[in-house]
């Protein structure tokens, strides 16, 4: 499952995968078994399962975002850079292992907005909104802050659709985002 070496890395890798695939209800025993780490070691590394949840989400963040967002060397227009995120989401949703945005799933499952995992999930969702907003500022959109939130809503709604229907999106997220960009005159 993993090529990482330290018990901490193995635990975070296993947690990231199991929490996403099976849900936050996965027990500490199953988690430690998957990571090949004793429970005693786990509790030496993390204060609680809640802390494992939060840290594993934070650890998943950079790779997930890199798989969605265009890099800094992408020289296309802000509009194209925004639509790329939806195209990549569309592509992700074709994979049978796709179970939606991991941060959205975590927030939905944890319920408590003060759970450390919910706090991390909220920050990582905000990163996406911030990306959209930076592109919209560059495109000189009239109200980049509101439009960035609206694009995030479309992103999360498309993710939810792929999960709830267990079927591919067929470009509907990208098309919806394009309508919002068109309406705001972001060419």
């Amino acid at each position: 499952m993993t090529t990482s070496t330290t018990p901490r890395e193995r635990l975070l890798d296993a947690a990231g995968e199991l929490f996403y695939r099976e849900g936050m209800g996965i027990g500490v025993d199953a988690l430690c078994k998957a990571a090949g780490v004793s429970k005693k070691s786990m509790y030496q590394l993390f204060r609680s399962k809640d802390e494992v949840i939060a840290e594993s989400l934070a650890a998943v963040g950079p790779a997930y975002q890199a798989s969605l967002l265009p890099g800094p060397d992408d020289e296309r227009s802000p509009r194209e850079r925004i639509l790329t995120v939806f195209e990549r989401q569309d592509q992700m949703a074709t994979e049978s292992s796709f179970l939606g945005c991991p941060f959205l799933s975590a927030a939905v499952e944890l319920k408590d907005p003060e759970h450390p995992g919910s706090v991390v999930a909220r920050r990582l969702k905000q990163d996406l909104t911030d990306f959209f907003q930076a592109q919209l500022v560059a495109a000189e959109a009239a109200d980049p802050e509101t439009l960035a939130v609206q694009l995030t809503i479309v992103f999360d709604g498309a993710s939810a659709r792929a999960v709830a229907r267990a079927q591919e999106l067929g470009g509907i997220g990208t098309a919806t985002a394009a309508v919002l960009l068109d309406a705001a005159g972001v060419k």
Copy 2:
């Protein structure tokens, strides 16, 4: 918690509330305790916890939909009837007990699209899309099927936002839906 009388009704009421508030990981013991029903009685009434999940979602469906959708005697325009759904969602999200669309949460938590609860959730989400589509057909929109899906995406994304951020929507769902309706010429 409940004024219903039969063990079956008490179980479905308790299940609807607990699964929504605490998540699908709630155990059969806690569920039976909340319902005031023995485990033996529960297993005489339902084959499994999975069946309780599915039936409790189906039982929640009509009241949830009645709280969101305008009634058949609502004589406003299709556009207004559609936007009413988003205004009501906006209002729901101001309540501290709001944890998003119960059907979307169920699908996200259950993971398995073949779980009987996921099947019910999918059907109930489709009801909302069907409502939008019927209004759009009445409004003679160009592509009612696609636009109905896009409106559902905005609805689910707004729901997700309210949960992930644990804050009010402030009309952003309604505003986003209005942009899509404007773009389609649904006046």
